[in-house]
Symmetry: C2
Subunit: 183 residues, 2 copies
DNA sequence: ATGCTAACGCAACGATGAGTGCGATAATTT
DNA sequence: AAATTATCGCACTCATCGTTGCGTTAGCAT
């Protein structure tokens, strides 16, 4: 949760923003998609609907903002010394994060809100994966293409989360790393 | 488009159903997500809103119905004689289908409508992939696990379609088959 | 400590989505 | 061919979303 560091004491705007973000996450997790409306968010956040309308404008923009905040900086890029170790550790963390039903609900709502929704959920993950590969390249090791890594790691992981009902265990996610590095 | 075979002459219900389905696809492709409302769908379909409310109840159920219809039976399972040939041909067809922006818009809306939305988009694809593998097994050939095939074929394909902005070309999709069969 | 500015709350309004009872129509069955 | 039944259209009502103007408050700077 990034809200604690964003809600700096003394800033009302930051406080309101944090409350609204939290309300969006809770509502997305609780009810069906059509209940995620601006008046409902405002009521749950203890804020007047006008404020939300003025600062975010629409549910789509609000969801994009919440998603980019929620899906950035919540997973730390490890530095275990080896590419395999970094990837396994990182994939396990991402899979654990994706195991939370509330996170999935937020992702689904964001995807449904517009064409850019999906990118908002995974843009930071792309950067993190690129950073891991770049670091190994700096070490002098042989590295896979970033595109290929995205396909074989993030692809199955997010596919299971969204399309297949079955849960993506942390162990299984780490197993994908072996398949990538073997090819 | 499956509408032509569903709109059998003489059946008013089927005609209405086809018109509503078509309207949903068009509206999902055209405007933002919040414009996909039941009165709008009814108006575009030339049908009274009451009819849509009574037959489908909510936008989520309507989207699930449209998605299962649209994503079933639109790709024929090939029979080229070999597993690699079948998979390459089938992946190319699926990728071509996913290249249509309208199809993507419908998928996004369906995913956002509820937890079951994603499954409605890929359930038929799972069955088709299972059928291809089963047939090869009947031929006596060595086959990969269905789970593994889903991870390495459908995973990257649908991830690119939803999360990554980049288009999934038909050639690239066929290339995934080689990676699967090599492992 | 005091003035300034940006953000928020409030109260109203219009627009539109959601739901209901009833009559009419088309498709099916005997 | 006539009766039956499921389905649809229509008129009406209620709830609520989206928006605007104005006053107030909190945060910030001198």
């Amino acid at each position: 949760m990034t809200e604690t560091i964003q809600a700096r004491p003394g800033g009302r705007s930051a406080r309101v923003r944090a409350a609204v973000h939290r309300a969006v996450e809770e509502l997305a997790a609780a009810g069906p998609a059509e209940t995620l409306t601006i008046p409902a968010v405002a009521a749950r956040a203890g804020v007047h609907p006008t404020t939300v309308y003025r600062r975010w404008g629409s549910v789509a923009q609000l969801l994009a903002d919440v998603a980019t905040s929620r899906f950035s900086g919540d997973v730390v890029v490890p530095d275990s010394g080896s590419l395999a170790g970094d990837l396994e550790r990182w994939m396990g963390d991402v899979a654990t994060d994706l195991a939370d039903p509330d996170v999935l609900a937020l992702m689904r709502a964001t995807i449904g809100s517009g064409p850019e929704g999906g990118c908002a959920c995974t843009a930071d993950r792309h950067e993190q994966l690129g950073a891991i590969i770049e670091r190994e390249k700096a070490r002098g090791g042989r590295v896979p293409e970033l595109e290929r890594a995205v396909d074989m790691l993030l692809g199955p992981l997010y596919y299971r989360a969204i399309f297949s009902g079955r849960p993506a265990s942390s162990d299984w996610a780490r197993g994908l790393v072996a398949a990538l590095l073997a090819g």
